[in-house]
């Protein structure tokens, strides 16, 4: 009887361990809500950093960009799934430096100007999706995202991506 108990305990532990590993596998790679149709589970290859895209991307071209959500105290647009991203090469203040909002890049604002882009999630018709990007994509400030979409440039050098898929790097 004692032996049977031990077998049951071990079997339960193994099954629990297996189910945990399955769960982590399914969420690794995104770490976000998978329900959104705009979130992709595989990272697109050949993503371009924001700073480089601001130099080379042309208006109306499909682009894949990588960047970190931030650039101001409130990088998200309330009411629409849109936000600003900053080139990952631009450093941000650490929390240990006493900065309560490190995603505003207050210590490196001069570098942000040439390394920032706006991402707006669009539907099939090309219209911005209503809602909050944080809940729709499961992202937050300083999340690193890889976005795929169409670039829009203006003569002032501003870069906007009308994105239809977003990959969120795990643990960032």
């Amino acid at each position: 009887m004692k032996m049977l108990n031990w077998i049951l305990v071990v079997a339960f532990a193994v099954s629990a361990g297996c189910s945990d590993s399955n769960l982590s596998e399914s969420t690794s790679g995104t770490g976000v809500a998978k329900s959104s149709q705009y979130v992709t589970s595989t990272e697109p290859v050949g993503a371009m950093p924001v700073g480089e895209a601001r130099q080379s991307a042309k208006d109306g071209e499909p682009v894949t960009l990588v960047g970190r959500i931030g650039g101001s105290v409130d990088p998200f647009v309330d009411g629409l799934a849109a936000f600003t991203i900053v080139d990952p090469k631009v450093p941000y203040c650490g929390k240990d430096e006493g900065c309560p909002t490190p995603w505003d890049y207050c210590c490196t604002q001069t570098q942000v100007k040439d390394n920032i882009a706006t991402v707006k999630i669009v539907d099939e018709a090309g219209k911005p999706v209503a809602g909050d990007a944080r809940t729709l994509l499961g992202v937050k400030e300083l999340s690193t995202v890889v976005v795929q979409g169409t670039s829009r440039r203006d003569d002032k050098g501003n870069l906007t991506i009308a994105a239809n898929s977003v990959f969120v790097r795990a643990g960032e």
Binding site: S72, V77, D78, G79, L80, A82, F83, T84, K113, I116, T118, K120, P128, A130, D154, K156, G157, N158, T160
Partner: protein, 384 residues
């Protein structure tokens, strides 16, 4: 068996001086509560009604919610109108108001003056600021201003100094008052409005502080916010007007907390004043209370009668204070950093004021009554 209702009432009349003094003390405490709660309610209401949910304010991203320090280019209104479809358009006129907003020293003809809030506006301002009503005079012409109902209070000047035809001085220029406006208690009521071009000339500025846009019902404020995010070179920030004033509400939260603390402290002081008076009143009636016990009245009945006296006195004091507060303090202008607002003795203020008053009556009567009833009847009957 309870003591007759008239017994308590007659008791109050038996010692008119003591009763009048207690009534005066209680009324003063309740009045203080009315004034402080009226202050809080006035401040809250002023910020609450200042925003229009259909209006979006666009100002500099660097000004951090302080519109006075915002500076944006004068081409911004045109750019916004051309780039966004959501602006309310009527008879071909887009409801977009470019404004220059500044806090500066204003002096009246009589020499009074202080820090005034000046807003340089165009003819589109009343289309966007829908609560603003010109109640007297006419729209400003060259070197003329219209003043809000509370502008005089904001400057700490006499209202006659801000009458139509009077002149005021700011930014080194003399301006004639051409009209007076109201805005339903909103923050604009403490402002002075003049023509944008005149104000830009006087301040030697060509920029704007903000652009206020009235959106059509199907448009979203988020679309304006997205435009500002996309046009990073313009360094603009867009916020719904109601959200802007909600932020100010948060900013003034410590003031409101402090004011509620004052209400608690004043009420506490009132309880002690009431206790002091009631102790005096009961101490002189120990033999009377013992006699009532001797002829068969239970302690509970005597206690109820003493509470009845305290509550009657407190209720009278609350009514007296309420009448004075409603007739003399309600609507009184108060000068504040962000402008001016009026004291509001509304239902909440009356509820809190009268509630505190009645509480003073009960709490003030209880301890001395307990003390008097604790003594034995035999000893109390011999008390001097």
């Amino acid at each position: 068996m309870l003591l007759p209702w008239e017994y308590g009432i007659r008791n109050l009349a038996r010692r008119p001086v003591r009763t009048a003094l207690t009534l005066g003390a209680l009324a003063t405490v309740v009045m203080l509560v009315f004034v402080v709660v009226g202050f809080i309610r006035g401040l809250e209401k002023s910020l609450e009604i200042s925003g229009d949910p259909d209006v979006v304010l666009v100002y500099s991203v660097n000004s951090e919610a302080n519109i006075e320090s915002s500076s944006i280019t004068s081409r911004t209104p045109g750019l916004l109108t051309a780039s966004l479809d959501g602006t309310w358009l009527r008879f071909g006129v887009p409801h977009v108001s470019p404004e220059l907003y500044l806090g500066t020293r204003v002096q009246t003809q009589s020499g009074d003056g202080g820090l005034g809030l000046i807003r340089g506006v165009t003819h589109t301002a009343p289309l966007v600021r829908r609560s603003v009503r010109l109640i007297e005079g006419h729209w400003p012409r060259d070197r003329e201003v219209i003043v809000g109902r509370l502008a005089a209070a904001k400057l700490g000047a006499d209202s006659s100094a801000m009458a139509i035809g009077q002149t005021i001085e700011f930014e080194g220029e003399i301006w004639t008052i051409s009209g007076q406006f109201a805005a339903g208690g909103a923050a604009y009521e403490s402002e002075i409005w003049c023509r944008l071009g005149d104000f830009q000339t006087a301040t030697k500025r060509q920029d704007l502080s903000l652009v206020a846009m009235l959106l059509s019902p199907e448009a979203l404020p988020a679309e304006v916010a997205l435009f500002c995010k996309e046009r990073i070179d313009l360094e603009l920030h867009a916020v719904r007007e109601t959200d802007y004033y909600a932020t100010l509400q948060q900013h003034y939260r410590p003031v409101r907390i402090l004011a509620w603390l004052v209400v608690v402290l004043v009420s506490g002081a009132g309880v002690f004043a009431g206790l002091n008076m009631m102790y005096g009143a009961v101490a002189g009636r120990i033999r009377e209370i013992a006699t009532l016990q001797a002829i068969g009245y239970r302690r509970r009945a005597i206690l109820l009668s003493l509470i009845q006296e305290g509550v009657l006195l407190a209720a009278a004091a609350s009514l007296l204070s309420g009448v004075i507060a409603l007739t003399m303090f309600n609507g009184m202008a108060v000068r504040f950093t962000m402008g001016a607002f009026t004291l509001r003795i509304d239902s909440i203020a009356i509820l809190v004021g009268c509630g505190v008053g009645l509480l003073l009556g009960v709490l003030g009567a209880l301890p001395p009554a307990f003390k008097a009833l604790r003594e034995s009847v035999a000893i109390s009957l011999k008390a001097v």
